[in-house]
Point group: C2
Amino acid sequence: MTSDEKTIKSTRIYSGRIIDVDLDEVELAEGNIRKREIVHHNGGAAILFIREGEVALAEQYRYAYKKVLIEIPAGKIEKGEEPKACAIRELEEETGYVADDAKLYLTIYPTPGYTDEIIYVYLVENAKFKSQKLDSGEYLNIKFMKITDVLRMIESGEICDSKSICALYKYANEHNLRL
Amino acid sequence: MTSDEKTIKSTRIYSGRIIDVDLDEVELAEGNIRKREIVHHNGGAAILFIREGEVALAEQYRYAYKKVLIEIPAGKIEKGEEPKACAIRELEEETGYVADDAKLYLTIYPTPGYTDEIIYVYLVENAKFKSQKLDSGEYLNIKFMKITDVLRMIESGEICDSKSICALYKYANEHNLRL
């Protein structure tokens, strides 16, 4: 009994740097009309980077929450950029590590009620250190931590970021790492 | 070297039913000014409902992705509503099951780059069937599935929703359920 929704009208509310916002009118199966508020985003790439049994985590101030969050490295996919190229670029910019390759590990829809963002999480297990290349105005600390310690930080609520939790639990599940 | 961002100016771009959108100007540590696009959301509550070793999943059309997604039951927290009350309400509306209590299981920030949404995931292991009470215009199918089958669907990409992946892997990790 799931049902498609037909777009009747679409109004662009806002065109921004990171997001665009549309207010659409849709027709439901039984003919009723509803409004849908949709945030468009070009998608993100994140990297589960494992080095000597430890995972790379970025501590970064997030304005939306007005606090520092702990997340796996990630960034916005530029127009026309391949997700894998974005993952390798962001890994180098944020951690200074250069990877020849990255393996698609998880595809995540962060919050399907109002955004069309897709986050592609890549696994990198081989990379060489070169140097960090942060964007102007970007501040972050990189730490390497044991997976079991990170599971403890998810459990305690110190790590709340969805892409990080998804990727870290998947890795723990595959490698039989438990609290 | 993480750094706070001071709000210089905040402009409300859009006030909607599900989201509000602000365009803020912030001052970075070194004095530079940047713009921040922020989607405000009142937060969501989701329910990991386990019945006889199986988990409740909702199949629901999601307009943002123009397709049917498979997710654990969830909904938007109303103004003034407690997250736990929202979880119990949504569980009953979507599945027909009434729970006396729900245990906070995970707190998730779905996509910290541009939204302040917090998703509270509750665990329910005891609930009695009454009857489904969907909102007008809400269509969804409820299925109960084995956790290992669900892990396979995450692995294959059939389940992409972040709150569902986080909650299901956490449960699998705690109960030593693996693919």
